[in-house]
């Protein structure tokens, strides 16, 4: 009779254990390692780009809700401060609101915005319960007769309320802007202020690239015609980067966003906060249109997003960056309808000098608007907000930062509330009317 020699079961157990540990743990040691096996569900639109960087959100293995909250604040805290968050955490740590906190624990972002739970992700790309307002404001009709019989799910519809950011829709703001025209005269975006002169204007004779370097001569022309040469920024200022530890300067062919950040910090910070740069912020590979969940052009699938992908190195044509760069990748209804829109007509006229340049409306005019910022000593600067997500959702965040540069408030609210009009890139008139301004007006008149 033949004897079957069995493998030592302990040896088998050991091999399988080592193999499993290796399979699960090796990806954890690589920034871009495939950690999808650890995902407990599909990640939301806001975070899917960085879902393989688990510790961007999960700061500590055993940190619980507090650690998660810290990671939310790390990325979104400044934005909430700028939005004058109407419901800060301190409202819910107040003992007198303990009964409310027990129902809706708004001390933590994840109470409303859960992650890895795609089944409940809403239109804005994040989870959001519909009935959260009523938990505390059930008796609103006692103060606002107009709100009687309104559905609990209607509070946060466009043009009405926003839990965090009510800068453009609070009642006194509405009252301040009643009876405004559809289009202001003049209708102009904020001016773009030139930077203070950094150095002497440079010419071809000043070029300090190594003579041995071979490159297209067209680069010279591009550089000479742009602000860089006019501001005294030479080749070495961008291409020769000093190692901070060794202080040794090395010539680099393609400087990345960190180099740009030396002079354009606010713009680069915005870029890294938005969907175009959030992977770079997490030290991951650059975002590509192929990774996007939105409709993108297949021809642009593998384009890697960085400063140069939109601005084109050496040329730095802002008109190209403001429209063409967007169209090169985005392939949705709103983008594709742009060239048939009144905004585009103005852009063409402004680009050809028929009207003031500030009257043209590009993609960037709305999605990367100019912001007036003041430092602590009152000096004003104008910064282009490079976080395309900053005013995107809910879209009434765009009212103050963009629409009202040219349009009346009531028209802006109505236009943004009309999803079909948005798809047509605002060709036509709003088919919806949001009553918030009517209600504000009538409440004051009856007082």
């Amino acid at each position: 009779m033949m004897k079957v020699k069995l493998l030592n079961p302990w040896l088998v157990w050991g091999i399988v254990t080592v193999a499993l540990v290796a399979y699960f743990s090796i990806p954890l040691f690589y920034e871009d390692g495939d950690k999808s096996v650890f995902l407990t569900g599909e990640t939301t639109h806001g975070h899917y780009q960085i879902e393989m960087q688990c510790n961007a959100c999960h700061l500590s293995e055993f940190g619980g809700q507090e650690a998660l909250q810290e990671s939310c604040v790390n990325c979104h805290g400044d934005e909430l401060k700028r939005a004058k968050d109407s419901h800060p955490k301190s409202k819910f740590t107040d003992p007198r609101n303990a009964d409310r906190t027990a129902i809706l624990d708004a001390r933590f972002c994840v109470t409303c915005h859960t992650e890895h739970n795609q089944e409940v992700v809403g239109q804005m790309g994040l989870t959001l319960p519909e009935d959260y307002c009523i938990k505390c404001h059930e008796d609103i009709e006692e103060d606002r007769v107009s709100h009687k019989d309104l559905g609990f799910e209607t509070c946060a519809t466009s043009g009405c309320h926003n839990y965090h950011d009510n800068k453009g829709i609070y009642e006194d703001f509405l009252l301040k802007h009643v009876d405004e025209p559809i289009v202001h005269s003049p209708a102009k975006s904020k001016p773009l202020k030139g930077r203070r002169q950094q150095g002497d204007v440079l010419t071809l004779q000043d070029i300090d690239a190594p003579e041995s370097l071979k490159y297209e001569q067209l680069i010279h022309a591009d550089w000479l015609e742009t602000t860089h040469a006019q501001q005294g920024v030479n080749c070495s200022d961008c291409h020769q980067v000093k190692d901070k530890a060794t202080n040794i300067a090395t010539w680099i062919t393609k400087p990345d966003h960190k180099v740009c950040s030396d002079c354009h910090k606010e713009e680069v910070d915005g870029f890294l906060d938005g969907k175009h740069g959030m992977r770079l912020k997490q030290n991951m590979s650059p975002m590509t249109p192929a990774m996007a969940r939105q409709d993108m052009k297949s021809t642009a699938g593998h384009k890697e997003l960085g400063c140069q992908s939109c601005h084109s190195a050496h040329r730095y044509d802002t008109k190209q960056a403001a429209v063409t760069a967007c169209q090169n990748c985005h392939d949705d209804d709103h983008t594709n309808a742009y060239e048939d829109s009144p905004h585009y007509s103005l852009w063409v006229k402004a680009s050809t000098g028929q009207i003031d340049s500030r009257e043209g409306v590009s993609c960037a005019s709305c999605h990367m608007p100019r912001e007036i910022r003041k430092n602590n000593v009152g000096e004003e600067t104008i910064v282009v907000q490079h976080n395309q997500n900053d005013n995107l959702r809910p879209n009434e965040k765009m009212i103050r930062s963009v629409c009202m540069d040219c349009h009346g408030l009531e028209f802006s609210i109505d236009a943004l509330a009309d999803a079909e009009l948005v798809k047509r890139n605002f060709k036509g008139k709003p088919s919806k009317h949001i009553q918030s301004m009517d209600w504000a007006r009538s409440r004051v008149e009856t007082k």
């Binding site: 301190s90 003992p95 007198r96 906190t101 103060d143 703001f173 007082k447």
Partner: protein, 196 residues
């Protein structure tokens, strides 16, 4: 001056808390050398009330009402105006809440412009009525909120300047339009968590 005031406030609070643990939660002075919850609350209120009155009289009353060199507005950032005294008080309370959970405070009223500042708990309703009906007297009690026991003290918030009554009587959301100088308009509520 403001920095040292805040340091003092927090020091008083911390010292008080340590003593709360040691002396229990009695209302009167303890035999130990520590500070009772009542003394802690009274001390905190003394600082709050002094600061609040100073801001209302020297900043709002002087610059916005008397000299009219700058406006005071609820929407102070949009209007480039002074922060209202009630907002000044609330922002301070929010900053304290970010720093410590050893005490908290708020400004409430039986006649609030913002309905969220109306009394909610039984003790708030009882206390606000008591300090409005008994000028010059404070209200002290204990309550349990969210499973935590608190020593709760309430102090009258009095109209100290024309700016107070003018704004409250004329505001579109005010439920009362006949406030007079020196009248109780609301109350400061201070809560100190106690060991159960």
């Amino acid at each position: 001056m403001k920095v040292s005031f805040k340091k003092g406030l927090l020091t008083a609070a911390m010292a008080g808390l340590v003593t709360v643990g040691v002396t229990g939660c009695g209302g009167g002075e303890s035999a130990s050398s520590g500070v009772t919850p009542q003394t802690m609350a009274d001390s905190l209120f003394a600082v709050m009330e002094s600061d609040r009155t100073t801001y209302t009289k020297l900043i709002i009353g002087r610059l916005a009402v008397k000299e009219k060199v700058i406006k005071a507005s609820e929407h102070w950032e949009d209007e480039k105006a002074l922060v209202l005294p009630a907002q000044m008080f609330r922002y301070g309370a929010e900053r304290v809440a970010e720093k410590t959970d050893k005490f908290s405070y708020s400004l409430l009223s039986l006649w609030p412009i913002n309905k969220q500042n109306a009394p909610k708990s039984d003790i708030e309703k009882e206390g606000l009525k008591y300090i409005a009906d008994n000028p010059g007297k404070n209200f002290y009690g204990e309550e349990t909120l969210g499973g935590q026991k608190y020593y709760t003290a309430m102090y009258a918030d009095v109209a100290v300047a024309q700016a107070c009554i003018k704004c409250h009587n004329e505001h579109k959301d005010t439920p009362r339009t006949d406030f007079k100088m020196g009248e109780v308009m609301g109350g400061v509520v201070i809560r100190i968590p106690l060991e159960l």
